[in-house]
């Protein structure tokens, strides 16, 4: 990954950089994956139970939700790797990044993104639990 300190020659532009270095999308990516998984799980279960009636076994939705959860957590791990790279690869989770530089801003975003990845992964695990405990609609 390119380091921002090599970017002296790049004009700043005024658009928020969405994709490349300096992007902020990574901040909302992990919680958005949680939200997507949450809504999908809700829809799968709601439509399953609404269309098949009460007392229907939840065996299929359970594994759909868990499978989706696995995929989402894998995606979040991917994001976390990106975040760790931007953060700088040193896992000092309590570092205060207060320096005034592009690199520091980038590291801060990486740090924050990493924490959000952890939170989102935990929240996805929580979403998978109900299907495992409850057996039917």
């Amino acid at each position: 990954m390119a380091r921002s300190r090599d970017r002296k020659t790049v004009p700043p532009g005024d658009a928020p950089r969405v994709i490349d270095q300096g992007s902020v999308w990574i901040l909302v990516a992990a919680p958005s994956i949680w939200a997507a998984h949450f809504l999908l799980s809700y829809w799968v279960a709601a439509i399953w139970c609404a269309k098949l009636g009460r007392g229907t076994s939840l065996a299929e939705p359970r594994w759909i939700i868990a499978g989706l959860g696995g995929l989402c957590i894998a995606a979040i791990i991917g994001l976390a790797v990106l975040a760790i790279r931007r953060y700088g690869g040193v896992f000092v989770i309590f570092e205060e990044i207060t320096e005034s530089s592009e690199r520091a801003r980038d590291r801060f975003v990486g740090h924050l993104a990493l924490l959000l990845c952890v939170l989102s992964a935990v929240a996805i695990l929580f979403t998978v639990i109900p299907g495992m405990v409850l057996g039917e609609c």
């Binding site: 009460r54 007392g55 989770i93 309590f94 935990v122 695990l125 929580f126 639990i129 109900p130 405990v133 409850l134 057996g135």
Partner: protein, 319 residues
């Protein structure tokens, strides 16, 4: 401090009685939640004391910049790891209880329809449907399945002593399973605000020995014993009460208001709010809207003297 302790004691003692009490352990479902309640309460007390204790200590303590790493570990373990484990564990436990207290069948099926502001109660028996109102009797130890509906607005069916509540939603049927474990007359309430006289929409939930219950239900299924030419029934008929109320065994077949076939056998009048006495009955007929504002039943203030007495006597004879 002492006054706080005595206040707590008063509250605690007050909580051990009361016919609407969740902690009366009168039903299996309520008992599951009761266990949960005490564990959560104790846990909450411990956590609250620890957090507030830590905050108080931190506020009073001298500056210790060298303890920054310690403070950060405190955030990591106390603020992240511990809560994740605690709430994760509680989630699983809560789900297990949920799985246990929901059921789709019961030894007895009771349909309850929420009306503004009373309860139409229909027992599903092998011999057919038995309609009554504002009082629900249940056999001890048998799981009753309530099938809940509403016609007008959303109501919610709640007997706190027996278990949780369930909304009654127009256009839907919801179900609730309750298994009574203690004899008694437990209070039932409407828990979802339904406008107007929501506060006065009550019922009695009476738990009986199974054999008593069977006898009661058999009696309830019978039509009323109304004498030919009963002067009270004549008043009932002339005033048009039968347009709204049903008294099985007579020509009064109105479907709008509560079924009155065995009215006087009920404990309460006006949807669980007044004692069933001739005096309250007379007031109910003449001063209806002072007794329960906004209800659809018209008051009959002109009905006085002998005619009123006859009507009340008749109604009180519907046992």
């Amino acid at each position: 401090m002492k006054s706080l302790a005595s206040l707590a004691l008063v509250l605690f003692l007050a909580g051990c009685e009361g016919r609407h009490n969740w902690l009366a352990a009168a039903g299996e479902e309520a008992r599951s939640v009761e266990t949960l309640f005490w564990v959560l309460l104790a846990g909450a007390a411990v956590i609250w004391s620890l957090v507030i204790g830590a905050a108080t200590y931190a506020h009073r303590a001298e500056a210790k910049p060298e303890r920054e790493q310690e403070a950060r570990r405190f955030i990591l373990w106390g603020g992240v790891a511990l809560p994740v484990l605690v709430v994760g564990g509680l989630l699983v436990w809560g789900l297990l209880i949920l799985r246990d207290i929901t059921a789709d069948d019961g030894a007895l099926t009771v349909r309850v329809d929420g009306e503004r502001w009373w309860w139409r109660v229909i027992y599903d028996t092998p011999e057919g449907l038995v309609t009554t109102a504002n009082e629900i009797r249940l056999p001890l130890g048998e799981r009753a399945l309530f099938r809940l509906t509403a016609d007008d607005v959303i109501h919610s069916f709640w007997v706190p002593a027996l278990g949780g509540k369930m909304d009654m939603i127009p256009g839907r049927e919801t179900t609730l399973a309750l298994t009574p474990k203690r004899l008694g007359n437990w209070g039932g309430l409407c828990a979802e605000f339904c406008g107007g006289a929501h506060a006065l929409m009550r019922f009695d939930a009476i738990v009986m020995e199974p054999e008593d219950f069977e006898a009661w239900l058999a009696h309830e299924a019978q039509p009323a014993q109304v004498d030919e030419g009963d002067p009270g029934f004549a008043v009932f008929d002339e005033e048009g009460c039968g347009a709204c109320h049903t008294i099985r065994g007579t020509n009064a077949q109105g479907p709008v208001g509560p079924d009155l076939t065995h009215l006087a056998a009920r404990d309460k009048l006006g949807a669980g709010i007044y004692e069933m006495t001739p005096e309250t009955m007379a007031r109910w007929i003449t001063e209806t809207h002072e007794m329960k504002p906004d209800i659809d039943m018209p008051a009959y203030p002109d009905l006085q003297g002998a005619r009123l007495d006859a009507l009340v006597t008749f109604l009180m004879s519907l046992e």
